[in-house]
Symmetry: C2
Subunit: 312 residues, 2 copies
């Protein structure tokens, strides 16, 4: 099995954190229901492959995402598994609102994420309220989570472009992100939800956050490969000092031949690049590829990850 | 139809040249024979879309690449077409050996390319002679081409890794490339034939050429997306001063689900990034996407280009 040669590049961090989103952001787009035990095995295998953070599921209402209706059962199954046990409660879970947080608290979760929008239209469509109103919705959730000692990540979607509004102004993104941090989020994940961003745009946005006093240490990047830019954008972010990268095992998260392909950056392709750059991730690429190949078999279609394809 | 927002990045060139290889490097991997008139339409549409250099075909022996057995007929058809006329003779053609050059000369071609190997094993397999012996084979071809006033590009394959030998030493690549330049090639295209390279490796190789006195102005890069690294590698090369990039419309050049996927960097995905960076290419992305969608229809399968997929 091939591996990349290592050629370090000046100015890069010695190690980075990959935040694996496949079980949540990936599977939520699958229409055919995946059995809970399959999801549990997926999460466990990802943890065993060395992914330091694996976002497990979302406490979204089953009406919106039927695929994740088993979120509670999944967490219970993970916590009951020898390989994880209490550590299952450190796996991040998405809580779209206060009701979601209630469920996360009941189950003993210690790490949650909220999902905000940088744009008005997506806030309306995804959150069912305006951009300005989202803060009032999230504030009590974040406050309660922090009071319970939880870590809280703030996802910020549509940071580069919006399907209805086009380009999103940098200061709009920064202002929204700063509000989420001031509210109590300990970090932000900047999402290129529709995958239109390019490396100069990435650098410009990160520079704008820096100017606003938000350093790279409080930011993660979350790229989609809709237009093939995800890994180049990750490289730009890495060079700009980012050390947390969202990625999805096997590129789960969208169909490559659908009208609006929305696949996440494939974790394997990211790890290949980082391995080549000599940037440590702790991930065992062979074990990760095996996991994604197995999951592709469960889903009944090939992985969109180039690394997984090449090794198949 | 979406377009990337433009955010320039310091230190990048104002414009670059895309060397389109789809009709040659892409189609040569297609087993089902494509009609000559379809190939001619493909080349014409690529030229019309603004691609400044379109490599048209190869005078390889039909026994090795039956798909390109119509090379002479294709060039004749292109030269007879109103939209190209004599300019068809400026389209580069690959000449694997002296016999191929004879045919290019007969047809009035003014731009040819030879195809060397940085490694011993690939030289043996692709050229049927050793690494050292390739120079004796190419020397008279290049000499005659130059004497005829032709431009001569030297492709250098396996610059990053070799399927049989693993990593390829930087000095091996540089030494081979310098030999090809000294022989009379006016430029080199550095190929990551199996797609294993990563951005640090790209920078290291380009720096090694610089040290040997070969500047970025005499080099092009030719990346394959086998492991998903092609566009990130192109970004690294761009930042290192490269201004000529090989790419293949629609990512033609390999099946994504084959055992060794060898797809070229998709021209559309490269143009998207360059448009976003404000680096001029002269390419009309809409016209290019239309061309690749049409060609995908002719080939009976979807394009692997993410941009083409997203706009389908």
């Amino acid at each position: 099995m091939r591996t990349p040669a290592t050629h370090a590049q000046d100015g890069l961090p010695a190690e980075v954190t990959i935040w694996e989103v496949g079980p949540r952001d990936g599977l939520q787009n699958e229409s055919a229901l995946v059995p809970t035990e399959t999801k549990a095995a997926f999460v466990q295998r990802l943890v065993a492959a060395g992914l330091p953070i694996v976002e497990a599921t979302s406490f979204v209402h089953p009406r919106w995402v039927p695929q994740l209706a088993d979120a509670g059962d999944l967490l219970t199954a993970l916590a009951a598994h020898d390989a994880l046990g209490d550590a299952a409660h450190d796996l991040p879970v998405l809580v779209p609102n206060d009701r979601g947080l209630d469920r996360a608290l009941e189950l003993g979760c210690r790490h949650v994420a909220i999902f905000g929008s940088a744009t008005e239209t997506f806030a309306q469509r995804n959150l069912n309220r305006g951009h300005a109103e989202q803060f009032a919705m999230f504030a009590p959730t974040v406050e309660r989570a922090r009071a319970a000692g939880m870590r809280v990540r703030g996802y910020l979607s549509m940071c580069f472009g919006d399907p209805w509004e086009g380009e999103v102004a940098l200061d709009r993104v920064v202002d929204t992100g700063v509000r989420l941090l001031e509210m109590g989020c300990d970090s932000l994940s900047l999402g290129d939800t529709i995958g239109v961003g390019t490396p100069g745009h990435v650098r410009a946005l990160l520079a704008a956050f820096e100017t606003a006093g938000v350093g790279a240490d409080r930011l993660a990047v979350h790229f989609h490969d809709t237009y093939g830019q995800a890994l180049a954008n990750a490289l730009a972010a890495l060079e700009a000092g980012i050390t947390t990268f969202d990625a999805s095992a096997g590129g789960l998260g969208g169909c490559p031949y659908a009208e609006s392909a929305t696949g996440n950056l494939a974790t394997e392709d990211l790890v290949w690049m980082l391995d080549g750059l000599g940037v440590r991730t702790g991930v065992d690429l062979d074990a990760l590829v095996d996991t994604s190949r197995w999951m592709a078999g469960e889903l009944g279609r090939p992985s969109v990850s180039r690394v997984v394809q090449a090794r198949a």
